[in-house]
Amino acid sequence: MLDTKGTLCPLPVLRTSQAIKQVKVGEVLEVLATDPGSKPDLTAWARMTGNELVDATEEPGNPKVYRFQIRRTK
């Protein structure tokens, strides 16, 4: 699990790109973020890198917490 809560763009994406290398191909990395741009940004990052954004959910709160499941594909 990668916790990027409290950081702003580009750190959620930069840390995700590092953390995804620490899981095996086919495994899922969970990422937590509070950056309001993290959902479109991680979606775009996954599309560009070919990794799979399996699920993205939002948990209400202040700030709102975004929870992502990303499968490493290569």
């Binding site: 580009p10 994406v13 930069l14 990052w45 560009m48 890198t49």
Partner: protein, 170 residues
Amino acid sequence: MIGLALVSQTKEAEAGRRANRLVLVVTKNTIDQVYPPLILATTAAASGLEVDIYFTFWGLKLLDKKSHTKTKLASVGNPALPMPNILGVLPGMTAMATKMMKGQIKKYWPTIPEMMQQAKDLGVRFHACSPTMGLMGIQEKDLIPMTDDVVGASTFLDWATSAGTATIFV
């Protein structure tokens, strides 16, 4: 399975249309003009793009050992600052605006030198503009070790006009 095949076809089509190299031109050395290209460079490299940054004019100061860590925020001619614009010319105002901005930035982002190192670690290439070096009296020995090479306009245009390259001028 049909759905999967469609997805992979879409991806292939998209791969052909999408640039795989980003070239950034950095011409300024103020906090507000340096963070955006560094953010784009690191993110692009982390997204699988090849990235080159061409440092020219004041931007070259970022590759100069003497000024590498000294990027400031302009207090003169910056109407977005939360104070009467005319006060920007007072002695010490640039230093004060810089200190306040850096204090705020520190909560969220690495410093500019740290971010440049991150970019290097991700494979971003740094190029010094040769005519600017002549203009500002900067020699190769004055450049920080992160600098990959010294190039001129033709080299830059060769990259910028290659298929699959996106270029952004800051």
